[in-house]
């Protein structure tokens, strides 16, 4: 993180702190205060959008650790979300567990699914791994449909809302608080995981896995660890999603979402916690824009225009970012900050 000039660390604690200056702390606290005040002045519709964005951020953090930091590309993240979603859905709806016990189980189940489908990553990488994770997505979806005694199959599964005692998280604003607390926690953890020994090992593996192995990084352990962490995040997000909608079905986890999460990572900037947030927020807002513009376009041009607009727009955004801004929004943001750091003397 680049700092304003004149900020010098005098001890190690200061040097490794994430927030180094008072201004950064003030901005952070102001942002959190604003975030948690949102339900006071936003309508339910906007709160819904923000809640979904929060859930998406959690998934994209997981994907960022797996793909952005460890370099193991996964296009099956929606499938891992579905594992978490159905685990907590089944535990709550069929066995009557409380949401708070089911959430860790969902995270764990998704993590274990990640471990299983991450096993080929020890032998393969790049395109081969992509194919393995695509296969993971479709196999998971097929299993969910096949095990219809437990999962409800194609009919879906009604899932209760979480509750603490008598307090049911039923209103939009209460669920907004729940998701945002978990999203903030997930962001905090994600930022710190990549600063640990494991995080440095991930980066070494991403940059050159053979060199990392020669240096003494245990590829087997750390690749699987990356899969586990990435999928735990997906499991938490999936669980939150179905408890929000109060219904679980395979249609909530289309293959397109797996691709779109990776698109968010590209648009935001890979290998950066802030990038995951930038990507999730900007592309989810773009989705919202499409849901507003789509019907107008459908009425004006042709009935199928809305569906095709969403597809074409998603594809074009990824194409344009890959060609013109491959390092993502976070790079642009750093440039802007660097510009203002020494302003008006920019040299």
């Amino acid at each position: 993180m680049d700092l304003p000039c004149g900020t010098f660390a005098e001890n190690y604690a200061q040097d490794i702190a994430i927030f180094r200056t008072k201004t950064q702390w003030v901005i952070l606290l102001a942002f959190l205060a604003f975030l948690f005040a949102c339900p006071l002045f936003f309508s339910d519709r906007i709160l819904t959008i923000l809640t979904i964005i929060g859930i998406t951020i959690i998934t994209v953090h997981g994907l960022n650790i797996l793909t952005g930091y460890c370099g193991q590309i996964s296009i099956g993240h929606a499938g891992f979300m579905a594992v978490g979603a159905y685990t907590s859905g089944i535990l709550c709806a069929k066995l009557g567990w409380s949401f708070w016990a089911a959430l860790p189980c969902a995270a764990l189940a998704a993590g274990v699914a990640g471990l299983i489908f991450g096993l080929p990553s020890l032998k393969i990488k790049g395109f081969y791994l992509i194919m393995a994770t695509i296969a993971a997505h479709f196999i998971i979806m097929w299993l969910i449909i096949q095990l219809y005694h437990i999962t409800g199959g194609a009919d879906g599964l009604a899932v209760p809302r979480p509750r603490i005692g008598d307090l049911v998280f039923k209103s939009k604003s209460s669920y907004f608080y729940l998701v945002m607390v978990i999203a903030c926690l997930a962001t905090f953890l994600a930022r710190n995981i990549v600063r640990t020994r494991a995080g440095r090992a991930f980066i070494a593996i991403r940059d050159n896995d053979l060199a990392a192995e020669v240096m003494g990084v245990n590829l087997w352990a750390y690749k699987l660890l990356a899969f586990f962490i990435g999928c735990v995040y997906a499991g938490v997000a999936g669980s939150l999603l179905v408890h929000y909608i109060a219904f679980a079905s395979v249609d909530q986890f289309p293959f397109m979402n797996s691709v779109w999460y990776l698109g968010m990572l590209i648009v935001g900037g890979m290998g950066s916690t802030a990038g995951a947030i930038f990507g999730a927020v900007s592309l989810k807002l773009l989705d919202e824009l499409v849901t507003i513009v789509g019907p107008i376009l459908s009425a004006a041009v042709a009935p199928q225009a809305a569906a095709s607009l969403s597809l074409i727009m998603r594809g074009l955004v990824i194409i344009l970012f890959l060609i013109f801004e491959p390092r993502g929004l976070v790079h642009r943001w750093e440039m802007i900050k660097a510009y203002f750091k020494l302003w008006p003397f920019s040299y």
């Binding site: 194919m131 597809l311 074009l316 194409i319 890959l322 060609i323």
Partner: protein, 295 residues
């Protein structure tokens, strides 16, 4: 036994079409190291083009095929120039994401132009019924098989005896040497995309004749990936053999196991199971070269 053989022989014919789609994929991969996720979408577009030319315009089969090939050439050139050329030298992930994005755009365009509806031109393609005793190959499948064989032979000859074929094989081997020998690599790349588009679209017209066209026809691309992985990613011969193996296995497995499973749909998930098994046991496929890496 007759049931088994019937399944196997239908699977064989289907496998030839998979092989045709897979070859387009392998050609791009060999020449430009780009993994083309959008190959299945070329097939889908091909199916819709076949519908447009054969049914909407009512053209005869040869004119439709010719027009479709011309469209494919233009499409291949545009795709290569506009999306892939700027990414030369970028990491693998960027290229793969680009082809994924491309597939999304193609899907969107197909939805916009053809409404994403189920279109069929069953019976428009000429019919040839092959009979072996009690066994018969359904007519559209057999015409698909014949065209696939012809296309594969033409491609083999192209690679063996023409200058551009030689340049493509050389590029697959070593780009730098090719450049220093004065061959324009960008032309080779463009040509490989054109060939991939053409074989994809021919495959699409054939498959469209067999099963009708819909947006999910693009999923045949995913079957082609399984074929490619099984055969070894840089082997055209491997793609053909693996295409036949996978087509037969899939048909037999679906024929025997689908009645036993409540939800059915094993044929759709079968390629993925093959993929995972191949990737775990023998990542470079049956005929591929094992990768040797140096730091």
């Amino acid at each position: 036994m007759t049931f088994f053989l019937q399944l196997a022989i239908t699977g064989f014919a289907l496998g030839m079409i998979y092989a045709l789609v897979a070859i387009g994929f392998v050609i791009i991969l060999k020449c430009s190291e780009a993994f083309n996720i959008a190959q299945g979408h070329f097939v889908m577009i091909g199916g819709y083009l076949g519908y447009t030319f054969l049914v909407t315009f009512g053209l005869p089969i040869w004119a439709s095929l010719l027009l479709a090939i011309v469209t494919a050439i233009i499409m291949g050139l545009l795709i290569e120039r506009l999306t892939l050329r700027p990414l030369v030298g970028q990491p693998v992930l960027a290229v793969i994401m680009m082809t994924i994005a491309l597939s999304t755009v193609l899907e969107g365009l197909a939805t916009l132009i053809w409404g994403g509806e189920y279109k069929t031109y069953h019976g428009v393609l000429p019919t040839v019924t092959l009979r072996f005793g009690e066994l018969s190959i359904p007519s559209e499948t057999s015409i698909g098989m014949i065209v696939s064989v012809v296309a594969v032979v033409i491609l083999m000859l192209l690679f063996r005896y023409t200058k551009i074929g030689l340049a493509m094989r050389a590029t697959a081997d070593d780009v730098q040497v090719v450049q220093s020998a004065g061959i324009k690599v960008t032309t080779v790349y463009a040509f490989s995309w054109v060939i991939a588009c053409v074989v994809g679209i021919i495959g699409g017209i054939l498959l469209g004749g067999v099963s009708g066209v819909m947006i999910p026809l693009a999923e045949v691309g995913i079957k082609a990936f399984a074929v490619v992985l099984l055969g070894g990613v840089n082997s055209i011969g491997g793609a053909i053999v693996a295409g036949i193996i996978l087509g037969m296995l899939e048909n037999i497995a679906a024929g025997y196991l689908d009645p036993l499973l409540p939800g059915g749909g094993l044929a759709n998930v079968f390629p993925f199971i093959v993929m995972i098994i191949v990737l775990t046991i023998r990542p470079y496929g049956l005929f591929g070269q094992a990768r040797i890496e140096r730091i």
